[in-house]
Amino acid sequence: MGLRLKALTKSPWVFHVSAGSCNNCDIEILDCLCPRFDIERFGVLLVGCVRHAAALLVTGAMNRKSARRVQQLYRQAAKPCLVIAVGSCACGQGIFHGSYAVGPPLDEVLPGAVAAYVPGCPPKPEAIILGVVKALSTLSGNGK
């Protein structure tokens, strides 16, 4: 990776949500859990409840129906909650930009909340881990 990433001193819980995604990013995120990439060695845990999440991994082009649910989820999360846009769709709607079925992009759906953008279609698991760990290491209590 070129950068040495130390394990985070806190074990941040991360919640993953998809809002109009083709799933490639979602599958690569799950891949990060698998032994080959093993995001857990950095202390990052994927959880099933947004209330305890320190970060929200968001994928998808912000389809109108899903985008509102993303807003609701973000409201439920304890703050500070870092939002990490994973994939070209979450970063800027990718090839779906301008479609009638999508509303504004993620950083307008959650203004000021996006802490990191991990572009790629889909980004490789190594890129996702790099982005997530870098973003999470800015949370207080974590070593750099």
Partner: protein
Amino acid sequence: MSQKLVDRIRKGIGDKARRIDVRSPRRVYVDIAPNDLVDVVKYLFEDLRARYVIASGVQVEDGFEVLHHFCFDADHVVVSVRVKAAPEKPEVPSVAPIIKGAEFIEREMHDLLGIEFPGHPNLTRLILAEDWPEGVYPLRRGKPWEGKVSQQL
């Protein structure tokens, strides 16, 4: 292989077929009047046991077309049954009472093209967002949503 099938279909639907076009050995297009759609679909689906594939709705110069696609897997043929609907208040009889698998696609064509399907058990919104305005059909020509749909959520 497809000639035998075409002959069977021709016999089975009689003069209901305005046109049977064997475009290629594996692609047949049958044009019929909307009033004959239910009978023809019943024949293909129930009598000949064709597999229902999906329907394609298309806006054309003089109205709309709905093509119901059927697969005769053992005969290696896709038969598409085409009906036309008028440009103003387009209507095509629903085949959902005969084919459960057609319920979704008729709702989708209703959502995106504004075609009515009298006889459908539940012709409600399927894929557009709850706040998408009524009467705006995105798959129609041009960009019918411009100026009618807010860019904000």
